[in-house]
Amino acid sequence: MTILQICQWLNDSPLGTSIRESDFSFALIETTHVLGITLMAGTVAILDLRLLGLMLRQDEVSDVAGQVLPLTVAGFVLMVISGSLLFWSEAAKMYLNPAFRFKLVLMLAAGLNPLIFHRTVYRKVASWDLAQPTPAAAKTAAVVSLALWTGIIVSGRAIAYFH
């Protein structure tokens, strides 16, 4: 079975068809998706701006991270569930959509970035919690994160323009 066939099968499944053919549930899921993205990207941007030393400089990085990340995770969960349902309903079309493919690559990179960050420079956060300026590696992670999430929002919106 090729990926396209799997996508076609999802597309034609009862759940996929019912979401696609109901105006109301598609609109509702899409609105949830936009809210999830706002919650996720908006809160991750606050941590990134803190890492860049542009915001909340008097607060420990670990404190800001601890306060903000639960909201980011909540936004992420909302976004993934609603996004999967949207994909399900148009899987065959999505598989061929260049903006969707580009978005998936960016999402993979956006997932790797915090994994690397938490395993490297963030491990020793206690030693630079209030340091000004913040370490170059932390700034790099923040810039990469802001760029990736910008790219994800832009390419996500672009999906509709490639329909």
Binding site: A27, I37, T38, G42, M55, D59, V68, L71, R157
Partner: protein, 157 residues
Amino acid sequence: MSLLPFFEWLAATRLSEAMSASVWAFAVVEMFHLLALAMLGGTVLILNLRLLGLRLQRRPVAEVTRELSPYSFASLAVLVVSGALLVIDGPLRYYSNSAFRVKMLLLTIAVIFSLTLHRWAVRSENRGISPGARIAAVVSLMLWLSVGLAGRAIGFL
């Protein structure tokens, strides 16, 4: 008094003609609108959660406000400018869209509320959290959420 003549005038401007003739102008402007929305949403949420005593409790409200509000105002400015350009792309499409009308009304209320009662609640806030400040935070979150929801609904009508 009807605003229809104003929207008709907008539709006849050169900018409107250029926007609607361009394939990518609307898409590009809309992406800026979305990015600024995420930034405004994030900062408004954190500030109001602070007012509710749920986030950044160790910092005074005044300080969190001073740190976050420049980003809120900058994103609101980008939202207003990009939003105006989106309307200029097809003024008559928006004039007759009821979600757009509701959104403009809610946006006006949200901005006035932020600049008056909400600001007053933030200023009068010391270490403890007064019921007034909590109410202001919840009302602010609901208002901005409803502006966003009405905005998304424009595209579905």
